[in-house]
Amino acid sequence: MALKRNVGLKGIKYRGGGPMLAWALHRISGLAIVLFVGLHVISSFFMQQLGSDIATALNTVYESIYFQFIVIFIVLFHALNGLRVIILDLWPQLIKFQREATWLQWLIFIPTYGMTVTIMILNQLQGG
């Protein structure tokens, strides 16, 4: 008997390198944003209609600076990686520059995210 077709967690060990990681992050970030937006909408609804406590609790989480670090990371990554994917999809002849595209993506991501986070921390410190 042959073994069952079963990739499971072995796939994670596959050394796909950068592009595979980017895809995994894109997928996770996309799901995370859906979750984030979805919960936010529903909690806003409850707050508006019932002034519910759950909503306030959730908002506290959402507005905490640590959570915002994460959310901004996720959104920024998803948006930039998505842009790379879109560009390569619409002009497949550029796919041979995929490596360069990935570099460029991080080149934009790191300063943008870094700056945002720094300003937020500075503001936080000032605001007390």
Partner: protein
Amino acid sequence: MSSRPAPQIGFSFEYLMWIFTRISGLVMYLLAFVGLVMAFWMGAHQQVDIGALARWTFFPNPNHVTNTNIPDVTLGWSNAWWQVMEMLIFLFAVTHGMNGVRVIYEDYIGNTWGRALGRGIIFLLWIFLLIVGIYVILAS
């Protein structure tokens, strides 16, 4: 050396959703860009912190704009134009996102039955989110 008939453009569901994902991605960029530029134009530089700005960029809802120092900061920011803007971006984001969920689900599900079931559930969720979201926007 030889001319051959080009195939007709095939409008398969998979293709339409695929191209929608790309287009909606670009549209969100555009809308966010407008939101960001106009926020600055309205004086965001002095009025809001960057977290709020980020949230506004994606969802230009005045509720997202807070500033402990200026009590009525959102005054100029809440009007019909922004409601339309927010609805648009919300529509695109939720549709794009729920379709993404569908794609992920269908990557894993091969059989027709499971696919139909999944599509049904995701479709209902999508409608539900849209209704609730638009209600919230209009009511705020």
